[in-house]
């Protein structure tokens, strides 16, 4: 990935970095990153990322918006928070990645929008917002079938043994979804919250 590395001869465009400093949750601390690499070295899934957090942060400072937002790094995060607790400059690394993930999804970058993680997130949010609770059965089914009918069927079959075991252990129920009594109230709150979120995005 050396071809994408910032070079001293390239003119840096700080507008993306400044946007991240101002608009991303925890982004104000990004300026303090000293490129020590503790985050990337602590990441259990770093080997699967196009760029580890250290490199990604340098690329943000170098104005490489396209390369940052089209990478798979944000979608690969497993949310272990190793990077957050170990950063000597208290940069909330995972929180910054998660906000960049949201931006990449919103702006339609394929590695984010079509990622397993975003597909699952859409199914998950649907359940949380509709019922006020996560229904693991419906979330999983919606997630599997987001890949199409035959892929969804194949994925469902592959996990049938686990599902049967969970039902038998009474850790997956067979009735209607669990819901909040007042899911309608929650939906009103979330609709307003989405409106506020949209104000930030513009």
């Amino acid at each position: 990935m050396n071809a994408l590395s910032p070079t001293p001869t390239k003119k840096y465009d700080l507008s993306f970095a400044r946007w991240v400093y101002r608009n991303v949750d925890g982004g104000d601390r990004l300026a303090l990153c000293m490129q020590c690499g503790t985050c990337s070295g602590s990441c259990p899934i770093g080997a699967q990322m196009d760029f580890g957090p250290r490199k990604l942060f340098m690329m943000i400072r170098a104005g490489m918006k396209e390369e940052v937002l089209s990478s798979n790094s944000m979608a690969a995060c497993v949310s272990c928070y190793n990077c957050v607790v170990r950063c000597p400059r208290k940069v909330p690394v995972k929180y910054i990645l998660q906000s960049l993930f949201t931006v990449a999804v919103r702006e339609g970058y394929a590695q984010s929008v079509d990622s397993d993680n975003a597909r699952f997130a859409r199914a998950f949010w649907w359940s949380a917002a509709k019922f006020g609770r996560t229904d693991e059965r419906l979330v999983t089914a919606r997630f599997y079938f987001s890949y199409g009918l035959s892929a969804g069927f194949k994925k469902s079959m592959a996990n049938l043994a686990i599902a049967k075991g969970m039902v038998k252990a009474k850790r997956m129920h067979l009735g209607l979804p669990h819901t909040c009594k007042n899911a309608g109230e929650l939906r009103k709150i979330l609709a307003k919250a989405a409106e506020i979120e949209a104000r930030h995005a513009t």
């Binding site: 906000s99 693991e136 109230e185 307003k192």
Partner: protein, 299 residues
């Protein structure tokens, strides 16, 4: 000691982690803690809620729960789930420390005539057991010591990593080498074996979503369990318990291993050690891999 806490069980308490909820409530009844469940609580968004919804809607989810908890009283909010703890704690700090976030979350809550001022404390139930209940109370409630049981204490990542200090400055734990889980094991009269995978991550929600990307993480943990000679793994996290248990057949298939290691919650061990019923109180019948070494020691 008697104490009432505002209880946020989280969605897993009604599904994959129902045996955590059952055993925890049983143990609490023995150590003077009363749970007052948050009225009509909702999902916290877990590790993925923010991805397609964004920052403010995710804060609004936990904001509604915190508003309901505050309306019921000033007691600390407590949760047994790692992700619930992270999200609820983070939302609480954001509302408490950032006036602009407080204004926005309250603007959303106002749609339902609710508000929240950030005045509660959000805690993990393990931290309450360590600092409020204390180990000597747990020990003195043990009537059926689990003598000879070898336990690998797997804390996982999210439970301790972000919050190595409590808000009130009490002793919690370091994120790299926490000892509380082994202390619970010892309180049960069991043996806490040295275990190198203590705070390793199983992949969390990504393990559920894309197991192909995370089976190697769980295999590493199971290798360490095997090397430790433990009969059983103990964990505080509902997702850790489910992932490490349900993926053992897939791991065996991919790596040619023969893992069949039971994974239980610390609260199930405590319930059995406190002489309670293996099924009704400890939920030990709700495993995909039966924890025989624990069941055989139950009264």
């Amino acid at each position: 000691m008697t104490k009432t806490l505002s209880y946020y069980p989280g969605c897993s308490s009604q599904a994959t982690g129902v045996h955590l909820d059952t055993s925890l409530k049983a143990v609490m009844s023995k150590v003077g803690i009363t749970f007052r469940e948050i009225d009509d609580w909702n999902c916290c968004g877990a590790s993925v809620g923010h991805i397609c919804s964004g920052h403010v809607p995710t804060l609004a989810l936990s904001g509604r729960n915190l508003a309901a908890a505050r309306a019921a009283g000033p007691e600390d909010v407590v949760t047994p789930c790692a992700a619930c703890y992270l999200n609820t704690h983070h939302t609480n700090e954001e509302i408490r420390d950032k006036p602009e976030v407080k204004a926005e979350v309250n603007e959303a809550l106002a749609e339902a005539g609710k508000s929240y001022d950030g005045s509660l404390h959000v805690r993990h139930i393990c931290e309450v057991l360590v600092n409020d209940v204390r180990m000597d109370t747990l020990k003195s409630a043990v009537t059926n010591p689990l003598t000879g049981l070898k336990v690998a204490g797997w804390v996982g990542c999210q439970t301790v990593r972000p919050f190595a200090a409590t808000e009130r400055g009490g002793k919690w734990e370091t994120y790299d080498d926490p000892s509380f889980l082994d202390d619970f094991t010892k309180a049960c009269g069991a043996e806490a074996v040295p275990f190198k995978g203590k705070t390793k991550c199983c992949g969390g929600s990504v393990a559920v979503i894309s197991p192909d990307k995370t089976l190697h993480l769980m295999k590493d943990i199971l290798d360490e369990v095997k090397a430790s000679g433990a009969d059983v793994v103990s964990t505080p996290c509902p997702l850790c318990q489910t992932n490490l248990e349900m993926y053992q057949p897939a791991i065996n298939q991919q790596f040619g291993t023969d893992f069949n290691i039971p994974v239980v919650f610390y609260s199930q061990l405590l319930a059995v050690a406190m002489g309670m019923d293996a099924k009704a109180d400890a939920g030990l019948h709700q495993h995909l891999i039966p924890p025989d070494a624990v069941l055989s020691r139950a009264k």
